[in-house]
């Protein structure tokens, strides 16, 4: 090939590589999506398969965690960081797990609905996360097991501006590290 043709091929290869990039983003991201929310399901799958010598049953901790993750969101009233009576048992279940497994870690993610200013809502979300943190610590969870983050109104669980949407967005999510 003449130099100009080699150059052309190189440019073409680069160009196509550049073109590939946007389309490759999606599979990557959906892969991370499944690893984050299906941590327990992949464990169950292995246990179910049962055949291979490498397959292991769930450890007691994994089993306890799988049960916990059915209920891992605490919802709040408007402009309130008080844990409602119906969620006391949810928090207690998480506290029980964290006390039983002192090496376990939980991340408390505080959220608000969309009303009001954004940085102020970061404060409200933090206050909710701290309310859950205090409740966990009162039940014997060590400070070092807990981290908090507030997303304010930046990560709504559902879209929409009606009260139903707002109620689902005022929440603390208890996210357990694997």
């Amino acid at each position: 090939m003449k130099p100009i043709q080699i150059l052309a091929v190189a440019v073409l290869a680069l160009g196509l590589a550049a073109c590939q990039k946007p389309t490759q983003v999606k599979p990557d991201e959906s892969a991370t999506a499944t690893t984050t929310d299906a941590a327990s399901t992949s464990g169950l799958g292995e246990a179910g398969a049962g055949g291979g010598s490498s397959a292991k049953p769930l450890t007691p901790q994994q089993q306890a965690l799988a049960d916990l993750q059915q209920k891992s969101i605490v919802y709040f009233d408007f402009d309130s960081s008080e844990i409602r009576a119906e969620y006391v048992s949810v928090v207690a279940a998480h506290a029980g797990y964290l006390v039983k497994f002192p090496s376990a870690r939980v991340r408390l993610e505080g959220h608000t609905d969309e009303r009001g200013s954004r940085e102020y809502n970061i404060g409200l979300g933090e206050r909710r996360a701290q309310a859950v943190r205090s409740a966990l610590m009162l039940q014997g969870v060590a400070d070092a097991q807990i981290t908090t983050v507030s997303y304010g109104e930046e990560r709504p669980a559902v879209d929409g501006s009606d009260e139903a949407a707002h109620a689902q967005n005022r929440r603390v999510e208890l996210v357990h590290a694997q």
């Binding site: 091929v9 073409l12 073109c19 999506a33 009303r115 102020y120 908090t148 983050v149 997303y151 990560r155």
Partner: protein, 440 residues
């Protein structure tokens, strides 16, 4: 220049390359904002901006259209529709004023673009249609690429001549856009010209970006990013894209605000969940705690003399704006008393007014508080208005609102006489921050 591709591949690859090139040149991700003319503004002054001479119809930068759009955006002027222009004068002596009087145009702008050596020169004139008096006549050096900037400059000069206030059309806005849902959500920090043209993404991540703030010299933007899964404050230089993380302390790092001399940032940090305001010296890294209350203290804004901070606090039970003097006892005094919610204060360029978010008859709206009279006037009328930011000439406030379930930007005049939306085709657009005047 034509590249020669090996035979069989040629047509296919050139098409593929062309498609790719188009994608690269015009990324669909950077939604351009445009002014939504939803209604005529009452009392807006009619003005004719005649297409400039020396420009073919459909030129890359239509100078007259850029000027007219700027004037329209201000809400103070109602430019005539192009189809209504009775003639196309390009210099003063060609204007037949009686024609324009019939069209009820109060003012007329004419001009032309001429080669000037290897560059261009743009000459424009502004006339009072009723009296025929010449109000402005200037010749501005320009280039093919600089024509848009020259058009904004002309709009600035016309605005100042007719209102007494310098125009703010040669400025920029920063804002945040959001597309998609987690985990493939995209947050982008975008900087665009004040008319929404030329949007450029300066940072992009799957985690939230918040609270962009311009440095006083307009060269840097501070903002909050959750890209490391927790909040941190960054300062990014616009010319180079180079950035530094200035605060990533345990807990919250939020609400950056530049001191007037650009040497310090006020920040919101938290210890054990309690948000307080601190100042960070960007040179020495010295951190000073300003508030100590166990309420939420956040959203600081510096006074023009740099000696005090306005901020939001719920120490009295609900969000209100307070002021703390930085020397001495640092005792906070309450600034807002009307309405049950006042937050996120932003000072007007003259330091006499605060734009803020106020709960007004059930809706979160933008209010402007006169600091001397303590009179609060509400200047918007939707239910979810937030993040006000004054234009550097004080005449307009840009803010975030919601339209058909989507975040969008809007502009209101500081006196509340009009609001206009800046809409985009995709995603949520939010948290606008208007730049200072460019250094001349």
């Amino acid at each position: 220049m034509l590249l020669r591709f090996p035979g069989t591949l040629r047509s296919f690859t050139s098409l593929a390359l062309l498609a790719c090139a188009l994608l690269l040149v015009a990324p669909a991700t950077e939604a351009q904002l445009r002014l939504d003319i939803t209604q005529g503004v009452r009392d807006a002054v009619p003005i004719a901006v005649v297409p400039f001479g020396g420009q073919a119809e459909g030129a890359a930068t239509d100078v007259a259209a850029v000027i007219a759009n700027d004037l329209q955006m201000s809400g103070r002027f109602a430019p005539l529709e192009r189809r209504d222009l009775v003639s196309r004068p390009t210099r003063g002596e060609e204007i037949r004023f009686e024609d324009w009087r019939l069209l009820r145009s109060d003012f007329i702008v004419v001009g032309r673009i001429e080669p000037d050596g290897t560059a261009l020169a743009v000459t424009f004139e502004l006339f009072n249609v009723r009296t025929g008096a010449a109000l402005l006549a200037e010749r501005l050096p320009s280039t093919e690429r600089g024509l848009r900037a020259t058009a904004h400059r002309i709009a600035d000069l016309v605005f100042e001549r007719l209102t007494g206030t310098p125009g703010a059309f040669s400025t920029r806005i920063a804002y945040v856009t959001v597309d998609g849902r987690p985990p493939s959500q995209r947050f982008r920090l975008v900087v665009a010209d004040a008319d929404g043209f030329n949007p450029r993404t300066i940072t992009e991540t799957t985690e939230p970006i918040m609270s962009p703030a311009w440095s006083p010299d307009g060269r840097e933007v501070a903002y909050v990013s959750f890209e490391s899964k927790v909040s941190a404050v960054y300062v990014q230089r616009l010319a180079t894209g180079e950035r530094r993380r200035v605060s990533a302390r345990a807990g919250i790092n939020g609400a950056p605000a530049w001191s007037p001399d650009g040497r310090q940032l006020a920040l919101t940090l938290s210890r054990d969940g309690n948000l307080d305001i601190y100042t960070l010296d960007l040179g020495t890294q010295a951190l000073t705690r300003i508030t100590t209350d166990d309420a939420i203290d956040t959203e600081a804004e510096w006074s023009r003399d740099g000696r005090s901070l306005y901020f939001t606090s719920d120490r009295a039970g609900n969000a209100q704006v307070y002021r703390v003097v930085l020397d001495g006892a640092r005792r906070a005094e309450r600034v807002t008393f009307t309405n049950g919610y006042n937050a996120r204060p932003r000072l007007s360029p003259d330091g006499k007014e605060l734009a803020l978010v106020t709960l007004d008859r059930g809706g979160y709206r933008i209010g402007v508080l006169d600091l001397e009279s303590r009179n609060l006037r509400v200047i918007t009328n939707a239910r979810q208005d937030e993040s006000p930011s004054f234009a550097p000439n004080g005449a307009m406030v840009i803010y975030g609102t919601r339209d058909r379930g989507k975040g969008t930007l809007a502009i209101a005049s500081s006196d509340g006489r009009f609001q206009q939306r800046l809409s985009s085709d995709q995603g949520d657009v939010r948290e606008p921050a208007w730049s200072p005047f460019p250094a001349r």
